[in-house]
Symmetry: C2
Subunit: 317 residues, 2 copies
């Protein structure tokens, strides 16, 4: 073991595995903190709870290599994981990133690390841990850590609650449909797919103003409302005509579109949608109401009941 080279950000031994970690750390710069020991050491503010979640993005399953740049793949993986902190209205404390890198991806490690760093710093989350291994498919598993004095859970929707949605749906599904058909996606749609925004600040704004339950839209609006309904033991009625959507997307396609990372929250009273849009530049819309009785999601369009679209299910293919 040699003396670490001048300017080596952390003192690690020799070897290709450590070289890969070192290259990412150099790219992350001040966006990474406290790496180089067996584990990260972090402080949770007194009185706060720790909030933790893990999410994986696997090549060939969650994305096709030819659809995205390495930077976009890194960004999406970490942004999607951070969305789980938004769904709990937690402040980011840090992220840990485990990357499996096939040999043919090695030269794009720098761009991948850049995308990871972008997503982390956009949400104010330092990168506090990492792991690299060789493998046949690129995969990024991101653990997100956050803190909150009180969290927004899935099981707290009550009879009579208004159901609010942030932003506009449909972009990711429309972009994926184009990509799968070998077409160039509309730029607006593609941007929604490659640069999702975890609604971290929005979630805290909503929690502070009376939202008491939440979920993020990752499996599709209808499916995620189903998780909320099942966890809370309520029915949720949604008028699809009220669901804001990006251009050229049908209401039903918007309700089936996954990987949106918008939030659905429940509130007993009214939330100030005008102030929300002024603050964050995206709409906040009442899309339906919770009802005691049969558990599940009831969608309607033009006043008539419509069947629920299938949710996005990684293992069903």
């Amino acid at each position: 073991v040699k003396r670490p080279p001048e300017g080596d950000p952390i003192a690690l031994g020799a070897g290709a595995e450590f070289d890969a970690i070192r290259a990412m750390i150099v790219r992350w710069g001040t966006r990474a903190r406290g790496l180089g020991d067996d584990a990260a050491v972090l402080q949770v503010p007194r009185g706060d709870s720790l909030v933790a979640s893990v999410d994986s993005a696997v090549e060939g399953r969650h994305f096709q290599r030819e659809w995205f740049s390495a930077r976009e793949i890194g960004y999406r993986a970490v942004a999607a994981a951070l969305s789980d902190l938004a769904a709990m209205a937690a402040r980011p404390l840090g992220v840990l990133v485990a990357v499996t890198i096939p040999a043919e991806w090695r030269q794009e490690l720098d761009e991948l690390a850049e995308g990871i760093g972008e997503a982390a710093s956009a949400s104010g989350a330092p990168i506090v841990g990492g792991n690299t291994t060789d493998g046949d498919a690129l995969s990024i598993t991101t653990t997100v850590l956050g803190t909150a004095f009180s969290v927004l859970r899935r099981d707290a929707v009550r009879d009579g609650d208004n159901m609010y949605l942030t932003g506009r749906l449909g972009g990711p599904a429309a972009a994926l449909r184009a990509l799968r058909g070998g077409k160039k996606p509309d730029l607006e749609h593609r941007d929604r797919l490659v640069h999702p925004t975890p609604r971290i600040r929005e979630a805290r704004w909503l929690a502070e103003r009376g939202a008491h339950a939440a979920i993020d839209v990752s499996d599709g609006l209808a499916a995620d409302l189903g998780h909320l309904a099942a966890a809370s033991g309520v029915g949720i009625e949604v008028d699809l005509d009220c669901v804001p959507r990006v251009s050229s997307v049908s209401a039903l396609d918007a309700a089936a579109s996954g990987e949106e990372y918008e939030l659905v929250v429940a509130a007993a009273g009214a939330l100030d949608a005008v102030e929300f849009e002024r603050t964050f530049g995206i709409p906040l819309t009442v899309i339906g109401r919770a009802r005691a009785g049969e558990v599940g999601v009831m969608l309607s369009q033009g006043g008539a009941r419509v069947a629920n679209p299938p949710g996005y299910d990684h293992l069903s293919r």
Copy 2:
């Protein structure tokens, strides 16, 4: 979305991905806690720091399918990750487990989950988060969360410190050599490979009695001492004749053996090895000393200097 079936441990929607999560949760029973929301909510004792680390075990890279049962694969992955908490002398708070499951592994999910649950509960760590995805190779990425009032770091070895090692080395390397050669490994060696014990309680005992730096032996004794030496800016002299080893293993092979998950700690004075062995049933041995001056690891055997063996490097193959 249907009403969750009677006895469903958590209220999730329908779909194969959720079925896989549900099957694991059923197997984990009371070993899993607080699953079913977007993230886990945990409490860090007042005054303690949060300790966090992530580790991956990938089929074909870290293990060959034919060498281990699904239960052993699950156990090893989680035990290895928990060893990073031992290396910091932290108490386990919980683990999050992200599993990529190829279709041909699906029927062994139950046994895999059982091994994961065994390793977690053996260290007193509840399973607080999980993720499943489809993929071509089985992989398990484990995030470990712990708490500690003060941690043992890699960078705190000082001139004159005694270097202590827990347990006996060499079993994993000997077992892997047999397996790679198509032979049946010695049972003692195999057991050390498939059932590593994270030295969680041992680490806290050592920290409470004056150990002030530590690392766990995952890359091999010589390589991990190299990490300690580089992080602390010291030289570490080790007499290989003093390194306890399992039967039928040479001293140099023992120093190169990875995935041991024994601990190396530094202490300014003497630690009570007799009391340690009485308490934990494994030896605690002075294997060398730290010296100011040239940074690195100096191994000797029979009074003569020997070259450092290569460390285990996942990306060098």
